[in-house]
Symmetry: C2
Subunit: 112 residues, 2 copies
DNA sequence: TTTACATACATAGCATTCTTATGTATATAA
DNA sequence: TTATATACATAAGAATGCTATGTATGTAAA
């Protein structure tokens, strides 16, 4: 990822799975742009991180793919498999616990 | 760290610096126990992660050490240096931004 | 027209982080 | 005397992400 943000390490799979739980199907480049817009440019998801992560999730059976040609360019769409839909719930609960514990450790209150 | 929690990767330095900003001085083993108690056992900070991290922060000039013998056992106390006191503020702001962005990406509301 | 930028995929090499395993040493409880 | 707690430390390995690079098309700017 980027911008001196070492902190996001380990959260990428969860982010991908969650975006796909909201969007039915997405392709790689679309995911990078979505992450960029949601975080207002603060998190830049690099291709060198994204594509291997997508391949790994697919190999784990959590994602399914379908390739299309759009505007004469290749697009590889990813969607949650049945296992993926189950796993995203676990990952989100882990993320909630993680944020809770991190706020406890850092004495941070949510900013809203 | 531990318990299938890949998510904490990258947060260790921030956690250490913040604990030392609240406690004047702490020794390694004490930090592991503090993290364990604050998270109610959910985050187990391993020695193999902690000690190298402390050494690195010391080498970076953010921590200062003083060694004592207590109950016939060695204790190496760590405290924030002047630079460390400044850096902890940066790290905490980064952590706030990180949590904010992660909640945005995962559509999570704080649980209280 | 050619240079830069956006779209769209992919991988190899490297750096960093953390885990596991191991080692040393003392004190206490079973 | 065996296990557990206290207290430090490091080496080998796994996992993650970053940088750099490569291929290819389309469009906007100089």
């Amino acid at each position: 990822m980027a911008i001196s943000n070492e902190l996001f390490k380990g959260t990428l799979q969860t982010i991908i799975l969650h975006l796909l739980s909201e969007n039915e199907r997405m392709y790689g480049y679309e995911i990078t742009q979505k992450v960029k817009s949601v975080t207002q440019g603060e998190l830049l998801l690099k291709e060198g991180a994204l594509y291997p992560a997508l391949h790994k999730l697919e190999a784990a059976g959590l994602l399914e793919t379908s390739t299309e040609i759009v505007d004469n360019r290749l697009r590889k769409y990813y969607a949650l498999s049945k296992d993926g839909k189950a796993e995203v719930l676990n990952k989100l609960q882990e993320a909630r616990d993680f944020i809770q514990n991190l706020q406890l450790l850092l004495n941070l209150k949510p900013s809203y």
